[in-house]
Amino acid sequence: MFNFSLGSNRSDVDISQIFDVVIMGAGPSGLTAAIYAGRYRLKTLLIEKKLVCGGQLATIAHVENYPGFDTTVSGSHLAQEMEKQAIKNGAWILQGHIESVNFTGQIKELNTPKGVIKTRAVIISTGAQPRMLNIPGEQQHIGKGVSYCATCDGHLFIDKTIAVIGGGNTALEETITLTKYAKKIFLIHRRNEFRADKIIQEKIRMIPEIEFMLNTTVKEIDFGKDNERKILVHTKGQDKTIHLDGVFIFVGIIPNSKPFLDALNLKEGFITSDEDMKTCIEGVFVSGDVRYKSLRQITTAVGEGATAAFSANKYLTEKR
């Protein structure tokens, strides 16, 4: 039942020292990189902008495809175990936001509100965040009926009617999570077929509370007057109004790559690298969802985190 998180705020790190490796972002990828780097006995600092570790992983109610956990495990539990393991292996975790970077010298510099942090190597694992639909009414109703996090807000929709928008794994999995609370869910997807894994599709079709609306686009979120909440959709060539209490949106992600726009090579906003996670700059590595690749999952994030730490260690050993 309990799942205590301790948060990323430590004040016991001396940030004036030069680190061997600084890992940016404490999602599953950064946490794994920290576990490996700590085991190589590198002087390792993991910087996370939020007060808690885990990144997107922390928002997943049930993880069903992470090997070794046959019965479902919560993302926050996995994240907390990874965090403990990173600390145990010698990594420091610091709360801080990387605002900009200077990768030009041998010693890399990272600018945070707490000061400039210096390091010989860096691993970028800043992940991604939910993509918005960018339709009228969305922005102004975030948190007022529009949500991107089922575990955070699901309990506020007990016995309510909601819509989930999206057709990938995340959208369908989160829909299943939301059936725990909502009495009726419209699952809205713009194509005629879901992208999600077949096994999830099979599962979701068994749930009677879900009404499928394929080939349907949402044009507007109208939660305006009289406390009446509705959305305007376009389906089967016609506009239609649906009355409901909330909308959950899972239509992909956007990479957290802003601090690196000028410093590195990017493709569609994602940082490019080779198979050893090396970017175009020596000593700078990338792993996880922020990396340009085809499959963005916990398993690939942790695998790349390990590879990035391995490559960083190799780089540092060769430099010595």
Binding site: F4, L6, R10, L51, V52, K144, S147, C152, L156
Partner: protein
């Protein structure tokens, strides 16, 4: 026992930074409070991890005077008290990411360290009207602790600001009353609110709007 050995040793490590003594004043109730007993046990376990942290327990129904003194209106409740009462309260047993709010609350009350800028501090020093912040959170919300520390730090610095942290899943009726349909959600003086993990300047702007 709620906290395992490893979690305990990590909390102990953090509590090394504590300066002023902190008293966790717990309000409990014998019946019709599902989580009161566990809340008390959990807080007692936390307090054992530092000699700077102690616990006092009161009964919500019989200790009327204390209920009034600490301004408690629901249980389970924890008042985090330092050298003085800075007005920081936690409502609902903290079982997930809201546990961070308890630990951070203790740290903020005990040390003078905040992440407020000199501008924030100047504003708070000049604030002369009572400002009540109610931050609605949920145990599974990883974005919530950021909103909580904003409120807790403001309460620590200004005697005018009170910060109530409320678990919306344990107090659904209250969440309904304030139309909370996403967390974190900070209600300001009953009348206005700010949605999401907003930074201090945004909350200050909202307070200004509300007090005007």
């Amino acid at each position: 026992m709620f906290l395992d050995k490893e979690v305990k040793s990590q909390i102990k490590e953090r509590f090394k930074d504590l300066k002023d003594d902190v008293t966790l004043v717990v309000f409990t109730q014998q019946s019709e409070c599902q989580h009161c007993e566990d809340n008390q046990k959990l807080v007692e376990e936390v307090s054992e991890l530092s000699d700077k942290v102690s616990v006092t327990v009161f009964d919500f129904q019989s200790d009327k005077e204390q209920v009034k003194k600490y301004g408690i209106d629901k249980v389970p409740a924890i008042a985090i008290i330092g050298k003085v009462d800075y007005g920081i309260r936690l409502y609902g047993i903290p079982t997930g990411y809201d546990f961070v709010s308890l630990l951070e609350g203790i740290r903020i009350v005990s040390t003078e360290e905040t992440q407020l800028t000199s501008e924030d501090n100047k504003y708070l020093a000049n604030l002369d009207k009572a400002t009540h912040l109610q931050v609605f959170v949920s145990p599974d919300c990883p974005h919530c602790p950021s909103a909580v520390t904003v409120a807790q730090q403001m309460a620590r610095v200004s005697s005018k600001v009170k910060a109530d942290i409320i678990d919306s899943s344990q107090f659904p009726d209250l969440a309904k009353k304030y139309n909370v349909s996403g967390v974190p959600h900070t209600v300001i003086n009953e009348t206005s609110y700010q949605q999401g993990a907003a930074p201090v300047p945004t909350i200050i702007a909202k307070i200004n709007e509300t007090l005007d």
